[in-house]
Amino acid sequence: MRPLTRAVTIAAAALACAGCSLHNAQNALDASGPQSARIAGLWWLMLPIAAVVWVIVIAVMLWGAGRKRSVREVMETRGGTEVVANDEARSRRMTRIVAAGAIVTAVILFLMLIADFRVGQALTMAPSTKVVPIKVVGHQFWWEVQYPDSVPNKTVITANEIHIPIGTPVVMELSSPDVIHSFWVPSLTGKKDLLPGYTRSLWFRADTAGVYRGQCAEFCGLEHAKMGVLVIAQKQQDFDAWRAAQLDSATTPSDSLAQHGKAVFLGTTCVMCHAISGTSAGATTGPNLTHLASRSTIAAGTLQNTDANLYAWISDPQRIKPGVLMPATKLDPRDMQALVAYLRHLK
């Protein structure tokens, strides 16, 4: 390749990379709140310093490896006895260079340490203003989400999609009944592990409305990679409306297909693990399905919430998420269609 062609190709590739911006992508440098902004700030402080130090170190190393050595140096390394008159001056110069290098390194590291401590302190400092408390329980392989309220029957229980108001800090109470998980929504907050037997807390705030994707960040089993979470940041009034709607019990469908679907749900293995408020289904092993149709994804962010995906998921979850704890359910196609119609009715 001619040099010009090569340069043009590289430039084109660089431009193409710069043009990448995935919808819903997890990007710790695309901060949408103070917590992630602090972490991104630390990165932008450390990256240039580290880059400059790296360039200097490599340059000095290459210069040292490539330069021609004088006859005197060769004599010295071979154990020559000839002592040169100005050797003392040279040795003093070398000591000064090495000492200066060590001091500069120590100062740089110390400044980065201070910056790191300051960010760490700011991340853990609990907000003093009014907060929204949310309980998040990590299960293999999905997230249980609860909005506690002083009035017990006003507690909202949902899964995998966390709605939060913008501008108000949320404090998450994290726990796990099975193995270690880690909650990480890169655009909003750093990671925090969910440890069995402990309750840990994490706070963050979203300043711009939007949907932020997160992910379990601690290997938790076969389907760790498909344990996604969506944080939906919305205006306070939208959040209040959503929360009020989530309090409603599921309504009985009016069309006969969905009515049959309800009977299928309550008369087969679904009812052993899932809850739908307003019906006799009250199990807590799997996600609460009371408002399933109001969520945009199923199976912890694995599939879009559509009729076809629900059908495929229920009939054979192992095909979509091998190792998931939900067993396959064999139903005849008519019952299955009715079941999907009922689940899609659960707005």
């Binding site: 293995t269 693990c273 067993p327 359910t329 064999k330």
Partner: protein, 191 residues
């Protein structure tokens, strides 16, 4: 020793033996969408044994490691542990010992799960599929060491209060007399 194995005839013999041994290997069948027959209603009686059910001595899944592990998972997920604990019993009878009240054959246990029993065991017929019921049957039997040792599960997710099923001693099941059925007293003062 080495020189003897180096002989062509001995070498050929070893190859044949290895090939024969490999030919005996078979991977167990794992079916995610199985429709095993439900055990017939005749198994309701504790005395009725395998003759009526048409299933093998250990049930359809007694020797299938995948089905046993599924059964173990469902045993927790479906909250069997709520009454039977992890085999030691509680509100319900223990399942890891040799005593069986309503029969120990797979068909009997199937009937117990499907139709329930007096004094509190609920009927799950209209809740769980025949495949899941058979998986539970296989797991329940493995708790007292029944079925293939090679297929039984080797570790537990919960805190280990007893060795996992693969290390469990095989109990010799015996039938015991059912306790008298308790009828709850009529509740007064309730609408």
């Amino acid at each position: 020793m080495c020189s003897r194995f180096a002989e062509p005839a001995a070498r050929a013999g070893i190859v044949v033996l290895v090939v024969l041994a490999l030919a005996a290997c078979s991977r167990e069948r794992r079916t995610f969408h199985d429709s095993p027959p439900a055990a017939s209603v005749a198994a309701e009686s504790a005395k009725a044994v395998r003759s009526d059910s048409g299933v093998s001595r250990d049930g359809p899944y007694g020797n299938n490691a995948w089905a046993l592990s599924q059964g173990k998972q469902l045993f927790s997920a479906f909250n069997c542990v709520g009454c039977h604990s992890h085999g030691g019993g509680g509100m319900g009878p223990p399942l890891m010992d040799s005593a069986w009240i309503y029969g120990f054959e797979p068909a009997n246990i199937y009937a117990t799960i499907a139709n329930g029993r007096p004094n509190g065991m609920p009927a799950f017929k209209s809740r769980i599929t025949p495949q899941q019921t058979w998986e539970l049957v296989a797991y329940v039997r493995s708790m007292s060491g029944q079925g293939s040792k090679a297929a039984r599960t080797n570790r537990s997710d919960e805190m280990e209060v007893r060795p996992a099923e693969a290390q469990t001693k095989t109990e010799k099941p015996v039938l015991v007399t059912p306790p008298p059925t308790v009828t709850p007293p009529a509740q007064e003062g309730h609408p």
